[in-house]
Symmetry: C2
Subunit: 313 residues, 2 copies
């Protein structure tokens, strides 16, 4: 399963941008299918799919990330391997084309789980990862959103979370979850955060248990939405606990998790979930999350408005 | 309840440093009692107690923090309010005498939950918090530990987690959990991390759900130990879930949590837990955690080796 953000797309069929986004998701799901059908690991599948989402400037991650209060890109990403709960994360990094690939290097080659800012870039350099100029990341639309937000914020410097109506397209996140033919689970999440965010703001995307979680014993989860609400409810781990402790399936756990987000902190957003049995589920508030799935090797389905659920409402 | 780190103290009665550490804990518990007996909030109590632990150079947080690979102090801290799950956190910050106080300001005055590095310092300046010179933080013992670790690491620059024997005294963390007379819970955790850690390494202390969690519906938790293991198991939230979902009390949840840490990721460390009924519990591996408690207004107890439990082993 992959997603490209909740509450950020005009989900009407006549919208050509939506059609482009869905076409991109179908292509990326195809890449993920190829990896998994060839015996590749869930970890490899989620890294590849998330990095392809980062490369697509339509989505708020990697290239096309939103701009912070200084007008620069500062990104968060993480990846987690459900086999052994190992994880890697980078927070508040610029200049890296694929933060999720850097997170994978942290997982593979560092005894740490999370590296932030300049220290993460130092690690990237030690791995031979090249830095990209700002021009690589910044799109015309993001510049416009930044100028709008900056003007509205006035002298305060920060206007609070953008996207009050769910249509501003200047938040969102990308993510992927997968189960491979060996039954292993993995999750990855990557985000540019929120337009005009303060320098150094870390969202839920790089936080293990908040914006992602993967455990072969329960499920793999990737989330998108109001990051601070996901952090305070530790939403991905909470959803995994519903499966691990209460025996829920993916659909029931996704529903319970989003209910929890709404009732406990009035949060908004969405999640994609694959459980250990390979069942896929999605759940989201605000009426839209651009996402897609291939359940147990079946047909690819991509949608903005339809939730994936096997449980009666 | 407060703690000053697990697996880091020579817990033999003849150790004068241990006696000094325990005396410090008794004094700090007394301050906490005064706040709570006077009707103060749990949030105020944990902020005050954690900042007093930061001020004591015996403990690895605030003044007396260990040094990173560049020979500098880089600290993590967070605080969480169980009333509404609101939280504030700062990661990889130098020059701030009391990172937990900065985390409280993030909670109170920022729409964000976590700020890292230079961005966190910019926020601190906007709040009028002054920066301290390196000399304020660095003690002779930390310098010696840093030089030892740096020498052992050689050209690789990083020797991996120190403290293989549990006696190196160069890791550890401080924390506090409290329940006030209104039944509200709060938690705070603060740490200097691990000697010779890479620049930008973020541990579990500032991660909501990993190194701390507080929810009036279940419990308040603060942890100390191998930070990466706490992050991958999302240990504080996992312990809260045992109470929230399975109905465990503090002692049973603390025990189940540490069992989970050991069995799932071979982790080490300890936790202090207060549940919604005011029951106190502690649990730790490696035979020692310097900590103390006042249960339901009773006598203060501080110890290195005794676990607080009401459940038969």
């Amino acid at each position: 399963m992959i997603h490209g953000g909740a509450g950020t797309w005009e989900c009407v069929d006549s919208d050509p941008e939506q059609a482009g986004g869905l076409a991109s998701l179908y292509a990326i799901l195809g890449q993920g299918r190829e990896i998994l059908a060839g015996g590749g690991s869930a970890l490899q599948a989620v890294e590849t799919c998330a990095s392809l989402l980062e490369d697509d400037p339509r989505f708020n991650a990697g290239r096309g990330s939103v701009l912070n209060a200084d007008g620069r890109v500062e990104m968060d990403a993480a990846i987690m391997d459900g086999r052994d709960l190992s994880a890697g994360a980078v927070a508040a990094v610029g200049t890296i084309a694929n933060p999720v690939r850097l997170a994978r290097l942290v997982l593979a080659h560092s005894p740490q789980v999370m590296l932030a800012g300049a220290g993460a870039l130092r690690f990237a350099a030690s791995c031979g990862m090249k830095q990209m100029p700002d021009e690589y990341f910044v799109t015309e639309e993001r510049l416009r959103q930044y100028r709008d937000a900056h003007r509205k914020a006035g002298t305060s410097g920060y206007a609070g979370p953008a996207d009050p109506s769910g249509r501003a397209r200047d938040s969102g996140t990308v993510g992927a979850v997968a189960r491979d033919i060996h039954g292993n689970l993995a999750a990855a999440t990557s985000s540019g955060g929120v337009t005009n965010k303060p320098v150094g703001r870390v969202g839920d995307s790089p936080v293990i248990g908040a914006g992602l979680y993967a455990d072969n014993a329960s499920c793999a989860v990737s989330g998108t939405g109001h990051g601070e609400a996901f952090m305070c409810t530790v939403l991905a781990r909470t959803i995994a606990s519903y499966i691990e402790i209460q025996g829920y399936d993916a659909a029931r756990a996704a529903r319970a998790g989003i209910d929890y987000l709404v009732t406990r902190v009035a949060g908004w957003g969405g999640v994609i979930v694959i459980d250990a049995a390979g069942r896929c589920a999605s759940r989201f508030t605000r009426g839209n999350m651009i996402h897609g799935w291939i359940e147990r090797g079946g047909a690819a389905v991509c949608t903005c408005v339809r939730e994936k659920t096997a449980v009666p409402e």
